[in-house]
């Protein structure tokens, strides 16, 4: 019997995904585990393996289509099998869903309260699985229950975690309390529908060549960035402190690594790695900076979980270097490289990007001398690393000065402690060889 493959739901907050590529085409033979298609959420990219073997009988969506989660994407069965009933059902479902979507689109703005209303459905979950969910922040909507009575048990949570489904603890708590996961989707869903409505209008004025443009929908990642950045700036009291430090020692050490480190495997250590290293050592001394501010409460992290801004084709991604304060410079460097590579390949899982306590963003290599980095919520500060310029000392000597820009949330941290942090970080960087000895 033929099987419908649906768009998986990758988290309660995800309502739809973009199909980025088909790996199989209609008529292809499919074995269990073969990748059918690749798709993206606003945060990550995934491949969908086949759960059954057979022939791909129908492809119901094209590359670039935005498919609501749980909607049919393709059909696998035996050649010659009549799948009209299945497809019809899909169409029915689509028709039935269409008016609903329209209805939803109209009152979406005032539909906010539904997010906090109880869903009325009890979550059947074992105490152990519940505890584990809260500890790990698993995305419970992704957990497939396999316990007695359809109860979620530990192994189900473990499996979802293995697949990288995480959410914030607050979201898990809320879900366990019978409320939907705090929803980002209504906004996202709205945004997705706008281009579709705007497209005909754009076509109408396309006659004027001078005004011609290529319309491209915002990618999911772009939307997520847009949303996060707007939220960051609108909800926080952000301000930026700028300083610079004498990078003579730092650059000398870097030169030494480059020259002598080849055989030791240390030559790939970058200035940015060294800054990350210094940050990881200074950060634990400033618990209010190494923190998240959530619902009026500080989460002062016990480890330096440093987010590292990585520029990718999809947009800005921030993998987290967990427990950086315990890593050696070489290990930290290696980890940072691995994460950056994964980010560029779109292979980061959600939990690799969740749980940061502080972020470092580096525009120095692009010659930026100072900037105002935007805090990655719910963190309380972000460090911008700037370019190195030559400066003259009072005695006329010239030294390389590297700029640092610290943006902090004044709700969480006052100016003086933020300045002290910058000062201590500068001192650490100026005496990098000594820092290593600690």
């Amino acid at each position: 019997m033929a099987n419908i493959v649906i768009m998986p739901r990758q988290g309660q907050s995800v309502e739809s995904c973009i199909i980025t590529a088909w790996q199989k085409k209609k008529g292809d033979r499919v074995e269990i585990g073969d990748i059918l298609f690749s798709y993206e959420t606003d945060k990550s990219a995934f491949d969908e393996p086949a759960q059954v073997a057979g022939t791909l009988l129908a492809v119901l969506a094209e590359e670039g289509d935005v498919i609501p989660c749980l909607d049919p994407v393709c059909v696998i069965g035996e050649p010659g099998e009549d799948i009209s009933a299945l497809i019809a059902k899909k169409d029915d479902a689509a028709e039935a869903a269409a008016p609903a979507a329209e209805e939803k689109a109209a009152p979406a703005q005032e539909a906010e309260p539904t997010a906090t209303e109880s869903t009325g459905e009890r979550i059947f979950i074992s105490p152990r699985a519940r505890r584990l969910s809260l500890e790990t922040g698993v995305d419970l909507t992704k957990v497939k229950p396999t316990g007695p009575h359809g109860r979620i048990i530990e192994r189900d949570v473990d499996k979802a975690l293995d697949l990288g489904y995480t959410a914030t603890t607050a979201a898990v708590e809320s879900f366990l309390a019978g409320k939907p996961m705090p929803a980002e989707e209504p906004e996202a869903a709205k945004a997705e529908q706008q281009p579709a409505q705007a497209a005909p209008a754009a076509a109408a004025v396309a006659a004027d060549d001078l005004l011609a443009y290529d319309e491209e929908p915002m990618s999911a990642v772009r939307k997520a960035i847009a949303k996060a950045m707007c939220a960051s700036l609108s909800e926080m009291a952000q301000l930026t402190l700028n300083t610079s430090f004498d990078a003579t020692n730092l650059l000398a050490y870097r030169a030494k690594l480059k020259a002598a480190g080849e055989e030791l495997g240390l030559s790939k250590i970058t200035i940015n790695d060294m800054v990350l290293f210094a940050v990881s050592r200074v950060l634990p001394k400033f618990p209010e900076i190494n923190a998240n501010l959530v619902n009026g409460a500080f989460r002062k992290f016990r480890h330096a979980n440093i987010g590292m801004a990585v520029d990718t084709d999809r947009g800005l991604l921030v993998p987290v270097l967990f427990g950086a304060e315990k890593l050696s410079l070489a290990d930290l460097s290696a980890l940072a490289k691995a994460k950056a590579a994964k980010a560029r390949e779109g292979k980061l899982t959600p939990d690799e990007m969740h749980g940061g306590s502080f972020t470092v963003s580096n525009l120095g290599s692009l010659g930026v001398e100072s900037f105002t980095p935007v805090i990655n919520p719910p963190e309380t500060a972000i460090l911008g690393v700037c370019a190195t310029v030559n400066r003259v000392k009072a005695d006329g000597s010239v030294y390389p000065a590297m700029g640092l820009s610290l943006t902090f949330d004044h709700r969480a941290v006052d100016g003086a402690p933020a300045a002290k942090f910058l000062k201590e970080l500068s001192t650490a960087l100026e005496n990098f060889d000594l820092l290593l000895a600690k």
Binding site: S126, P127, T146, P148
Partner: protein, 828 residues
């Protein structure tokens, strides 16, 4: 089954008659002039004094119960008061004959008995001994009360009378300064330094216990006799009849001497029935019994009819006369003896008794015959004392009684236990938790051969103490040191260490116990330390209680756990409770071995651990390996607490499969209360009770092999006490637990464990703890047992249905929740 006694078919069928000797009824006929040759004036007066003291004490309690006031002292006593007004002459007459080392066990109407014995002891002890006893008892707590508040405490004997009355009354009023800190109460007051042993609220309960104390004297060659008091109502009770028979066993005089090697005396016990004609409201004469005279009974037990006679219990001199003669018989090795002391209870059964079962005329007639004024008149008439002298005694007694009740109701002087300030006071005395290698270090144990020469010891020496050889192959069973051997080793070691240790039960000697644990003990031990008991479970367990209370250590056996019901009261009310009811004064070093059967159907295959675990005061073990069996038995035998030791007939021949170094030959202990991880795992925990351990291990192996599930198997080993920490630790790791055992599921210990684990580890549980016991049925025949007792497949079924569905698994049995709801609905 001694081979020396031949049962000859030629004689068994010989014709003839059973002849009975006549049983004397009230044959006392001494004149007062004759008695004057025996008693001094002070003896005569003391008898009056003691009877009058009891009368005043009981009257005081009656007034308090009925009017809440006695001689102007107001008090309300909500506790029981089973009074014996009218029976004073019987009690005093008996006690008069008893020495300190004669033990008295009483009925639940025993105030008079304990006061009489106490007063008798006070008279017989010299002042120094008496004062030392009072000073040492409960660190002088009672002495401090009776001595401290008086300007002039008088002589030591006067002080001792205050001590006795106060200790008893404070006990009745549940004060910490009572003889048992108020934990015994009216029906259980006793005072061992005066030879007053526990009285019993269970009618007839003291009979087998007194038998055990007599057995202690008999087996350990101790001086003195034991008196087992009971009312006439108690003669309808099985344990009393069992005790009468047990005490009369032929072997005591015919076999225990072992050809002159040891004494062949009879059991030094006097069964003394205070016949007041009513068991509460049921009239034993003419209504609930058919014997007419209780004294008729012993004719059914021994050819000597236990030297039974009936005596006038309203005449203290007649009682003394008869009791003295019985005591002489016992001291001459002619026990047991039986005495019916006819008396009458003028007071009600309790103060709430309106005497609807008897006429006012009957009561009045007995009041007219009141033994105290009658005795007084007799002495005045004989010119022994003047009436004023008696009046002076009366006044002294009333004054003493008023003084004592004032002390006993004073909350400052006589406080009750403060369980809010000292919440652990009762907890701390539920067990004595002693560690005593020998209950009597002054003498060598009596044995027949050196231990090394024992045939069983020699046989065990050649056995493999670990079950597998170098190649990991199981050694043949015949060559394996097994659970039987482990138990035997611990027990024979104790026999050679503690001279008081005795063992008995059904088929123990010669046969070696029905399951051969004791094989080899017959060769090593004299009869009086190791013998066959009659099929009398009440007497077996009850006598062990008395044996321990008297100072010895007993190992008794019930052939099947199913017979626990036959010894119900002895296990549930006596063995379990006396340590705590005595406020920790008594110790109870008794190991009760019970074997759990299989293959033998509904009345021989039951695991009744739940019944014993339910009762506070017992320790309950159920080992499943030779190492644990020996180690737990060692600790049980070295302890001072009652341990019910469950053994499974399925696994007596199991070798040691867990301790690679083998079961140690020397002494070691396994802590009672500690479960043991028999197999480590990480996905699911199986907690097993008893023999099901091996089925649990089979299930664990299958889970690992077929489904990649790693099961941890924990052997409970002990059920009470129970340290949950290892189990909780395991559950924290696995999140899942199934508790298995051969007991029926409903109200089992498994259910109790499951409930507690749920409470203790809720946040760590991935599913509610599952329980897999036997079905709530009768045990079917062996061939059908797999549908009844938990099997390895069933254990996996339960894990699949209730803890973690196993992909692709097909259950063998129906252990689904729906099925369980249906079963519960039907009560099965």
């Amino acid at each position: 089954m001694p081979k020396s006694q031949y049962i000859d078919p030629g004689k068994v069928f010989e014709p003839g008659y059973i002849d009975f000797d006549s049983i004397p009824l009230c044959r006392y006929n001494k004149t007062i002039e004759e008695e004057k040759q025996i008693y001094s004036k002070s003896d005569f007066m003391r008898i009056y004094h003691d009877m009058r003291t009891i009368r005043e004490f009981e009257t005081m309690l009656n007034e308090i119960k009925v009017k809440s006031e006695y001689n102007g002292v107001k008090y309300n006593n909500p506790g029981p008061a089973h009074l014996s007004i009218g029976q004073e002459a019987s009690a005093v007459g008996q006690a008069y004959c008893m020495d300190i080392n004669d033990f008295q066990f009483g009925s639940h109407r025993s105030h008079g008995e304990i006061l009489a014995k106490g007063l008798s002891s006070i008279n017989k002890l010299d002042d120094t001994e008496l004062y030392d006893i009072m000073k040492e008892f409960l660190d002088g707590a009672i002495l401090k009360v009776v001595e401290g508040k008086q300007a002039n405490p008088g002589s030591v004997k006067d002080l001792a009378k205050d001590f006795l009355l106060y200790g008893a009354l404070a006990e009745i009023f549940a004060r910490t300064t009572g003889f048992n800190k108020g934990l015994g109460g009216s029906m259980h007051a006793f005072f061992i330094p005066f030879g007053i042993f526990p009285n019993n609220a269970i009618v007839g309960g003291a009979a087998p216990i007194a038998l055990g104390a007599a057995l202690y004297k008999r087996a350990n060659h101790k001086k003195g006799i034991v008196v087992a008091n009971s009312g006439d109502g108690a003669l309808g009770r099985g344990p009393v009849l069992e005790a009468l028979n047990f005490a009369s066993m032929d072997q005591i005089t015919k076999l225990w001497g072992m050809g002159g090697k040891y004494p062949d005396d009879g059991m030094p016990i006097l069964f003394n029935v205070f016949n007041n004609f009513y068991g509460m409201g049921g009239q034993t004469l003419g209504e609930t019994m058919g014997y007419t005279y209780p004294a008729r009974l012993p004719a059914g037990f021994t050819p000597s009819a236990m030297h039974a006679e009936k005596v006038n219990g309203y005449d203290p001199l007649a009682v003394i006369d008869a009791t003295t003669r019985k005591k002489e018989l016992l001291l001459n090795g002619q026990g047991p003896a039986f005495l019916e002391v006819a008396t009458y209870r003028v007071s009600g059964h309790s103060p709430s008794d309106s005497s609807t079962y008897r006429t006012p005329e009957e009561i009045e007639a007995w009041k007219d015959a009141d033994p105290i004024p009658a005795y007084r008149r007799k002495l005045v008439a004989a010119g022994i004392a003047k009436d004023e002298e008696f009046a002076a005694i009366d006044e002294e007694i009333v004054n003493r009684t008023v003084k004592i009740i004032k002390l006993a109701i004073d909350d400052e002087i006589s406080p009750r236990m403060d369980l809010s300030k000292q919440p652990d006071m009762i907890s701390s005395i539920m067990y004595s938790n002693g560690h005593v290698k020998s209950m009597d270090t002054t003498r060598e144990p009596e044995v027949l051969i050196p231990k090394e020469e024992d045939p069983r010891v020699k046989q065990i020496a050649s056995k493999a103490r670990y079950a597998f050889d170098d190649k990991g192959e199981m050694i043949p069973k015949m060559k394996l040191y097994n659970i039987r051997d482990g138990l035997f080793e611990a027990i024979i070691d104790k026999f050679y260490e503690d001279p008081t240790t005795i063992a008995y039960g059904e088929d123990n000697r010669d046969w070696g116990g029905a399951f051969a644990v004791y094989r080899g003990l017959t060769e090593a031990l004299p009869y009086h330390r190791f013998f066959n008991a009659p099929i009398s479970e009440s007497a077996i367990v009850g006598s062990a209680v008395g044996y321990a209370v008297a100072g010895g250590r007993a190992i008794v056996e019930l052939m099947y756990a199913d017979f626990i019901g036959c010894a119900g009261d002895e296990i549930f009310n006596q063995l379990s409770k006396w340590q705590a009811m005595s406020a920790g004064i008594l110790k109870m070093p008794v190991v009760l071995r019970v074997s759990v059967g299989s293959k033998y159907g509904a009345q021989h295959s039951q695991d009744w651990t739940a019944l014993c675990s339910h009762i506070p005061g017992l320790k309950v073990c159920f080992p499943a390996t030779p190492y644990d069996a020996k180690g737990l038995m060692n600790q049980a035998l070295n302890g001072t607490d009652p341990v019910v030791f469950f053994e499974s007939q399925r696994i007596y021949d199991k070798g040691e499969e867990f301790h690679k170094e083998g079961v140690p030959e020397g002494y070691y202990e396994v802590n009672i209360g500690e479960p043991d991880v028999k197999r480590e795992g990480k996905d699911v925990t199986i907690l097993s009770i008893g023999a099901v351990l091996y089925r649990a291990l089979d299930a664990a192996k299958k889970l690992e092999k077929d489904y990649g599930i790693s099961a941890e198997v924990i052997d409970a080993r002990t059920l009470v006490p129970f340290d949950y920490s290892k189990v909780i630790e395991s559950v924290k790791k696995t999140g899942k637990i199934v508790i298995v055992g051969d007991a029926v599921d409903r109200c089992s210990v498994m259910r109790d464990l499951a409930s507690n684990i749920t409470e203790m580890a809720f946040d760590y549980l991935d599913a509610p703890p599952a329980v897999f016991g036997s079905r709530n049925w009768i045990t079917p025949a062996f061939e059908l047992e797999k549908y009844y007792f938990p099997q390895p497949d069933g254990i996996i079924d339960v894990i699949h249905e209730k803890l973690m569905p196993i992909p692709g698994y097909v259950p063998t049995y129906n252990e689904t929740e729906l099925e369980h709801i249906e079963r519960a609905k039907k009560g099965v």
